[in-house]
Point group: C2
Chain length 196, copies 2
């Protein structure tokens, strides 16, 4: 291992996002990212396995925060309220809307990155379902509640990065959860309607 570089991980992530944004993901090399950050390729590969992973460096932290918040919600809370508490905790981590917008544009322009983003969300959903089972929730309720939480996270996030949007991510997630409740309960109960 080489000498310690202060904030190397963060500097590399910022340099990568800037370059991907300016030149495109495919046109950028690891050497260029390291150069922009004032670091070596060797240092880059100590922190990230490849060009793609530098955009997903926060995924593990996000999942851990989400799962811990769900686990620490009082046992008397309904599963969806535990998930809502997790969403609040996660939302508080997203403070730089411009950064998130930039990252989303880079991802939207590349199929490989979109796949990686879908994997991140699927892994988040699986971890959430496990945390709910840890609270004694059975299946399929745990998985369905987790999927509902991820839907709220995803749609809330998409709304948050829309140009000119001024509400906070927490506000938009709360609203999205209310909208989801309204949407799934608006219909007739199964078996009572002609449709299903």
């Amino acid at each position: 291992m080489g000498r310690w570089e202060p904030n190397a991980r963060e500097r590399l992530a910022k340099a990568a996002l800037d370059l991907y944004s300016e030149r495109g993901y495919e046109q950028t090399t690891v050497a260029e990212i390291a150069g922009r950050a004032g670091l070596t390729e060797r240092t880059y590969f100590r922190h990230y396995a490849d060009k793609r992973e530098v955009l997903f460096g926060g995924s593990d932290v996000l999942r851990e925060l989400f799962v811990t918040a769900v686990a620490e919600t009082p046992g008397s809370a309904a599963p969806i309220d535990a998930v809502a508490a997790g969403l609040e905790t996660v939302a508080a981590e997203f403070v730089d809307r411009e950064h998130s917008r930039k990252r989303q544009s880079v991802i939207a322009a590349n199929a490989e990155l979109q796949e990686r983003e879908l994997i991140k969300l699927a892994s988040l959903s699986a971890a959430l379902a496990e945390a709910l089972r840890g609270r004694g929730i059975g299946e399929p309720a745990a998985s369905l509640t987790a999927e509902a939480g991820i839907a709220v996270f995803k749609i809330g996030f998409e709304r948050w990065i829309v140009a000119a949007e001024e509400r906070t991510l927490a506000e938009l997630m709360r609203e999205s959860l209310v909208e989801l409740r309204t949407a799934v309960t608006a219909g007739g109960q199964v078996g009572e309607t002609a449709v299903m």
Copy 2:
């Protein structure tokens, strides 16, 4: 184009799934799949772009069926009921549980195939949201309802292929929708609880 081969597409799909199941996805070549189906590699590539796509040949049909059913549900139906009608239509297409089990095992064993499956579901969700917007549903309700529908589809399907499960896919999807309704409404309304 060569001469017409009766049911070539289906024969190739069946041969591929059998071989992936017996030898593993990575250990199987297109030449072997074509050989097992009694066809040439040339014929294979007229039907499928690569080794992966042969497992996803039904995705477009599935999406089209789902979207059409949603669009054709009477305009007075709530969005979630239109989605439920779509789920009924789609469920009726899954008649061979053993085939679905085999396919799922192959996919579960390979990260690349899991990614492709996630993309299929994301594309299904996007098409569903568009069909709901076509019914005059605004955002974020359209996207949230679509995500809820895909969650029910995914979890219902996972339950359907569990060993010894005897209920139909339609029954399990209906149950999953009821469970989802219960799960998201069980909590306190946002703003009224200490949790959120």
